[in-house]
């Protein structure tokens, strides 16, 4: 039983898993050793986690929104995404190489890392659990249309569905197609239509009328 001074609905008790997994124990052991040997400090680790947690898909969304309104920026983004993204003051230091890939009326891109969970974290933050799942990683390469259908996206047979498997240093960012009915919208308004899922490629950007 817990005492609460404030009103709220009854909820399930908050429980921690009792047992760490083998790999969790190993991570904590290595982390402790690194701190003990003075290679890193606990605060440095905390700050690195804090930095990663602070990155969200909103970073990518503003980049996409600018590409939609500014053709010269889009050209720079397609030529050298890492440099273009740096124009927003986004710290891309830890990023090896970023490549922006554009969806068009005839081409739909979707990104995966079949080997692990490579993802443009610097610009989108932490990947969703499903992206890291064996199910997504193994199925989207062999049946991309089936997987996209499960995400609610049906594509015409004459559209090329292009799966990028990020097996190496490159990180891929999908530039979703600009939805119709968005003429005259500001960059800020447009950025709200750009979702994380549309920048991975499992969805299109929202339309202005969608809730």
């Amino acid at each position: 039983m817990h005492e609460h001074g404030h009103e709220h609905d009854a909820h399930a008790p908050i429980t921690d898993r009792e047992e760490l997994t083998y790999y969790e124990k190993r991570v904590y052991a290595i982390q402790s050793l690194l701190i003990e040997k003075g290679i890193v400090t606990a605060d440095e680790i905390r700050r690195a986690v804090e930095d990663m947690d602070s990155r969200t898909p909103a970073l990518g969304a503003q980049v996409v929104a600018r590409a939609w309104v500014d053709p010269a920026f889009k050209a720079r983004l397609l030529a050298d995404a890492k440099a273009a993204v740096a124009e927003f003051g986004i710290d891309t230091g830890s990023l090896s190489t970023l490549v922006a890939i554009e969806n068009t009326g005839k081409l739909h891109n979707v990104v995966v890392c079949t080997l692990c969970s490579c993802y443009p974290r610097t610009i989108l933050g932490v990947p969703p659990d499903w992206y890291k799942s064996l199910s997504y990683r193994s199925r989207v390469v062999v049946d991309p249309r089936g997987v996209l259908r499960e995400f609610g996206l049906e594509l015409e047979p004459d559209i090329e569905v292009r799966v990028y498997d990020s097996t190496a240093d490159m990180r891929y960012l999908v530039i979703p197609a600009r939805p119709s009915g968005t003429e005259g919208m500001s960059e800020e308004q447009l950025a709200k239509l750009v979702t994380r899922d549309s920048m991975i490629g499992v969805a299109k950007a929202r339309t202005p009328n969608q809730p």
Partner: protein, 97 residues
């Protein structure tokens, strides 16, 4: 130190080597033995097969974006679909096709 030149260029037809070396490598089994076209040359990068074990990753390997027709990768892939698969593959895993 002489700089190595990329062995392949965009448009070249290449086949992915079949192999399972001991240790870490970045060429998925499903694409091994398949034939595709070089779409882009990314440049030279340190070899992950050495980096994974604390090595320096030298000599650097050229990394290529290779394009495959899905119908060429998977036997059951429905034929008229124009779908493709683009994968980044290191030079030492590619041979001319």
């Amino acid at each position: 130190m002489p700089t190595l030149a990329a062995k392949f260029k965009p448009g070249d037809k290449v086949r992915v080597r079949v192999g399972s070396p001991p240790g870490h490598f970045r060429t998925p089994a499903y694409i091994q033995g398949k034939t595709g076209l070089v779409a882009a040359v990314h440049g030279a990068f340190r070899n992950p097969e050495s980096l994974a074990y604390g090595g320096a990753g030298i000599p650097k390997q050229f990394l290529y974006l290779v394009r495959f027709e899905q119908t060429q990768v998977w036997e059951q892939y429905p034929a008229p679909l124009p779908d493709t698969l683009f994968i980044d593959i290191y030079e030492h895993w590619l041979e001319p096709a």
